[in-house]
Symmetry: C2
Subunit: 348 residues, 2 copies
């Protein structure tokens, strides 16, 4: 069986870091009994430029048939005035592939502590499980009139149940703690989330479960991020908190993410933008994309071993300070990538 | 003319810090040609206990007739199972007094830098102007059904215009920069805010104006808070970001806030909760309430002079490390308050 991987190269630094990720994928799978085909297809800005659509039908078809999707950073000033902007493609692909669960690791490892803008010294290792295909992002009605506008935050029982289960399953493989983040002192949808989450929590007696209002959570992520294991939350709160959480690591250029549904391909992507200011200079940090590849191997292809090999090599490069300027280093994208590949080959 | 001040003592540490604030008010106004009457009325948990309602009708009537409202921290575990919880009173009083503008200063002064959990060293001095009586907090429909629930984020042109004007007027008295925070890449209401804000911005040619998505803003507040002057935003985003902003100061116990409408009394309150864990020990930090009193004198009674006297005395106490345990000190609420009063009397 040959793994089918859709490759969405992205914009500005997107293709640069995708190339790095794919080089590492080639290296780590060599002689490892893992065969794959790559299917590069246009998306985002590239989709607009080549086919007039941020998510062209042909791209979606390729993704649907793939076993996994690798997506690099998209968007940028070039398409600021576009009728349908590159980011629209993101919302559409999430919906079309039913990627209702967005998983974002937030880790401050000893080697990475130096980059963190917060003084906190305790270990930080939590995951945000964000609902990705419902809530105020997709709820109707959404209307703009002459004198008012409105959006609707809407959640069905089924939409909540499935993401809550992802959160608790995730906790079972970790430190067995779930924090539901909501605004249940104000919102009906939050109260509904609480009711359903409490019911499902009962099926996981080993998992401790608590709740936090979103405003309080935004403080705790700074004051005491070590307290979290799995943060479970709805789409909009997850958007805000996961970026805040990324920022406390101080190393946005190194963070991968996974978005998945119940079946069909999962999607792996860096959490950061396309960094137009440094595009073309060969200095973009490839770690987010390389770690996205690692996440893909572990989660879509059950190759935790290959994933671990990559992650160890990444940590080694950081320890050795072979890092790009965003992490205070002087290495190029290629140098970082080649260093990681060299470590992989030694180990392998 | 005698200033009429409604006093809502709050719960747990609420009355302790209110007493401190009122002592400072008495001291700073002595021989200053400022007469006032205090009208203590039950609210929040005290309202529930005494009159069965977090916002009793008599309390609201007193507030409506007052020139200003001083409110201390409310709520707590005692009323966790109450049918209408203390916080409900907050939402109701905001609406009833039409307090559509919530103003929250975020300052990291040299003396306070030691408390900040972020490593940032540049000066931080911004204000969040949060819309407080509309958006998803009050929008209808809000419904819970058997299998789904929904909330509505709704804004009228008029609701946006008036708060945007508050933001730009505020900027004119400061460093003349406004950042509108929204999620205009997703929400119709955000696009509507942008349109109206751009129109009003044209009336303030001296004010530079930019926009930020809320997820990006949650990063910037940590990465580079010095870039902000006035952050203008809708209710829910303001709730989350203003707590995050408070947290980067590391001194929640010292932060006041103001909520105001077009006419009628403004309301002044600490931003923190009622801290049931330390209630009754006499060690609650009174600075947030004392600074709320200062804000009231400047904004509701045009006595910037008295406000400055208080703020200078507060800074002095911090410089001298006469602070409560939350700021690493050993002073009691009374000791801090008396120290501040002593400084005021010396100056006066
Ligand atoms: C680009 C935008 C629509 C998107 C979102 O809000 O979901 C982004 O911020 C993200 O988190 O992937
Ligand atoms: C208690 C709650 C309803 C309130 C809010 O969300 O507005 C609080 O968090 C605040 O910011 O004053």
């Amino acid at each position: 069986m040959t793994a089918q991987i859709a490759v969405l190269n992205g914009d500005y630094i997107g293709p640069e870091i995708m190339a790095a990720g794919l080089k590492v994928l080639a290296a780590v799978t060599e002689n490892e009994n893992f065969d794959y085909d790559l299917h590069p297809v246009p998306f985002g800005g590239e989709g607009i430029d080549k086919l007039g659509d941020p998510l062209p039908a042909s791209t979606l078809a390729t993704c649907k048939q793939a076993d996994a999707v690798l997506l690099s950073a998209i968007g940028g000033p070039k398409w600021d005035k576009a009728e349908r902007r590159p980011e629209t493609g993101l919302l559409e692909i999430r919906k079309a592939l039913n990627l209702f669960a967005n998983i974002r690791p937030t880790v401050i490892s000893p080697a990475m502590r130096q980059y963190s803008p917060i003084r906190n010294e305790s270990p930080v290792d939590f995951v945000i499980v964000r609902e990705l295909t419902s809530g105020i992002y997709f709820g109707t009605p959404r209307e703009t009139h002459e004198t008012y506008a409105l959006d609707t935050m809407r959640y069905t029982e089924n939409e909540i149940e499935r993401i809550v289960k992802v959160g608790f399953e995730m906790a079972m493989k970790r430190r067995k703690h779930v924090t539901l983040v909501d605004k249940a002192n104000v919102l009906d949808t939050s109260k509904f989330w609480r009711k359903i989450t409490a019911r499902i929590a009962a099926d996981y007696p080993e998992v401790t479960y608590d709740t936090s209002y979103v405003d309080a959570a935004s403080m705790k992520i700074i004051a005491n991020p070590g307290q979290f294991d799995v943060i479970l939350t709805e789409n909009l709160f997850g958007d805000i908190l996961s970026d805040e959480a990324a920022q406390i690591t101080g190393s946005l250029g190194t963070i991968p993410s996974m978005s998945k549904g119940t079946d069909g391909p999962a999607l792996y992507e860096p959490i950061h933008g396309s960094a137009p200011d440094i595009a073309g200079q060969g200095i973009a940090d490839p770690l987010s994309m390389i770690k996205s590849v690692a996440m893909m191997l572990a989660n879509s292809f059950d190759r935790q071993d290959l994933s671990d090999t990559i992650m160890t090599a990444v940590d080694q490069a950081i320890d050795d300070q072979i890092v790009t300027p965003d992490l205070g280093g002087t290495a190029t994208t290629d140098e970082v990538t080649d260093t990681i590949i060299k470590t992989i080959k030694k180990v392998g």
